[in-house]
């Protein structure tokens, strides 16, 4: 299956992560297959934050998990720090795990309800033998403190005693415990109120500066994405639509889907006018995606060419790429 091209890759900038032609299909019955990630390529430079945005169900979580081989994708390659992890044996993959971590979307249900918070966070430290019990316990307290929770108060409690946002912070503390080089954050702040959101985002920023952490940041909050990311990848139904810096993307979206996405952001002012370029129509089924451009069933500029030919990414500005036959800017 053709992807959307690779012109946006930057092999000369020594990317820390290079993903090429990644394919993930879910087999839902004997005959039907969902094409969740359909030949996606991208790279991330050291210290960069790549944001992934797109409609619910378009394959963002699947893509994030596939990069970390959770589970292994059906096709494509993933190279992390010059190691092709898609080619590693199970044991070698296990050894590299601490260097790549993920904060899962369902924070509450990803925590073991039977464990006390201190044990949840200590688990990876213990498994990878990071220090003595006393050292680890100190580290656990530091981590809790870093995510804005008081160790005294929360250490001995269990997940069900916490609010949604508190659980999310516990899972963030666990994910950063091993100081990974790559952290995939799947909606890491969506359950958090704005002030804590800001605190966590700043924390991730600090970790980036301190540890040279590289982030893949999946989010539907475009304002948050703008604040944290260096590059944004817009997805639609398993494919890439557009790649750009957040400033470029928001000021000059070139793909018809990106434009609708940006126009739909709610504004914190009850008197703001609600014009809207809406994405109308039903999202197509990933079991039987439209030919050519997958967005064409909902695009008002769709032409015959859009049905016949899959658009490939083209560069329309410095570092700004779009996969569209009739982009909004040329």
């Amino acid at each position: 299956m053709a992807g959307s091209g690779k012109i946006h890759l930057r092999p000369n900038s020594e990317p820390i992560l290079v993903v090429q032609d990644l394919v993930v299909n879910y087999k839902v019955s004997r005959k039907t297959v969902i094409s969740a990630v359909a030949g996606i390529s991208f790279d991330v430079l050291r210290g960069e934050t790549l944001a992934i945005v797109g409609e619910s169900g378009c394959g963002k979580s699947t893509l994030g998990r596939a990069v970390l081989q959770l589970p292994r994708p059906q096709g494509g390659t993933v190279v992390l720090d010059s190691i092709e992890i898609t080619a590693l044996s199970g044991n070698d993959l296990r050894d590299i795990r601490p260097r790549m971590q993920m904060i899962f979307q369902d924070a509450i249900s990803s925590l073991d309800p039977r464990l006390q918070v201190k044990n949840i966070i200590d688990e990876p430290l213990k498994a990878w033998k990071k220090g003595t019990a006393a050292q680890r316990s100190e580290k656990v307290d530091d981590l809790l403190d870093a995510v804005g929770l008081d160790p005294e108060i929360v250490r001995d409690r269990r997940p069900y005693e916490f609010s949604g946002g508190q659980c999310q912070r516990i899972s963030i503390a666990r994910a950063i415990a091993l100081e990974p080089m790559l952290l995939v954050c799947d909606e890491p702040v969506s359950a958090l109120d704005v002030s804590i959101q800001a605190q966590i985002l700043n924390l991730l920023q600090d970790m980036k500066d301190k540890l040279g952490l590289t982030l893949i940041f999946i989010s539907h909050d475009l304002a948050v994405v703008k604040a944290v990311s260096t590059r944004v990848l817009v997805m639609y139904l398993g494919k890439i639509c557009e790649v750009a810096t957040p400033d470029d993307l928001y000021a000059h979206p070139a793909h018809h889907y990106s434009r609708a996405l940006i126009a739909a952001v709610p504004i914190p002012d009850p008197e703001a006018s609600v014009d809207k370029i809406r994405v109308t129509g039903e999202p197509p089924s990933p079991i039987n995606p439209p030919s050519g451009c997958r967005f064409r069933t909902r695009c008002e500029s769709a032409s015959d060419r859009c049905a016949a030919e899959e658009p490939q990414l083209q560069e329309i500005g410095l570092g700004h790429f779009v996969a569209c036959h009739h982009p909004l800017i040329k």
Binding site: V28, S56, G148, E161, F162, S195, H220, A227, D247, E282
Partner: protein, 324 residues
Amino acid sequence: MTALIKLTDFSVSFSTPRGDLHAVRGVDLSINKGESVGIVGESGSGKTVLSRATMGLMPSTATCTGSVEFNGVDLSRLSRKDLRNYWGTGMAMVFQDPMTSLNPVRRIGSQITEGLIVRLGMSKEQARGRAIELLDRVRISDPFATMKKYPGELSGGMRQRIVIAIAIACTPELLFADEPTTALDVTVQAQVLELLAELRQEFNMTMLLVTHDLGVVAGQTDRVVVMYAGQIVEAATTKELFKNMKMPYTEALLKSIPRLDQQAGQRLKVITGRLPDPTKPEPGCAFAPRCLYATDKCRSEQPPLVTTQTGHQYRCFFPLGGAN
């Protein structure tokens, strides 16, 4: 107008090994039929506990005091069995974490049709038809196929929409929506919010919307309640609140919203410090340790909830813009 739901001096505490944890403290709140009220507040401020406790969904470690009246009936006096009669058609809830409220080993179809069969007495066939219609209304692209799936086979946002479909299935009079759109991208979010607005119109449904997204609050609610450390600290009509906020906390909350018109890569503003330990309530204003304007009085005395002539309520000795 009569209140559909009325909370009076409502408190919830949990007994924990470290002592009683006061999650909700002395809340008075009355919501009229057809109204849409937003609850905002920091993570851990008691928004979820307040909504769950109102519905009677609390673990045995919780103690609720005060009263909850629904259509004039004091729910706190009802047995668990009588209370159940209100679930689904009287009140329903969209839970914050979809995965924990869906049964992972049952198909989506049977989870949606259950309420329709049990509470509305529909036949299996009728319920199935209605379920498919509901899935369509929450913008699930392939309702027929989705009926046969298990929750684990859906994306986060799809699961959230399933939970919404279940909650609205029996067209409840009062819908508690606890962060109903956090897992949705903005375009689907807009569609789901539109659907909720339609239901309010069509069935005069009342909604209590818990969210941290002040953009959603601005567009979807008539009135906003701001919670801090288990208390209501400010309440006003949505227009009034955004224009004329009184609480230093509300101001800080608004300032920390990342906005699209902000430059990329800027450090975000935060409210420094954190919520007080809910097992040891502050003697004074709960926000005092973090408030820019705090004085000695704030640290030693509890500010009362003041109601202005226009009905704007706040809990602060030194409200922004003075006491009017």
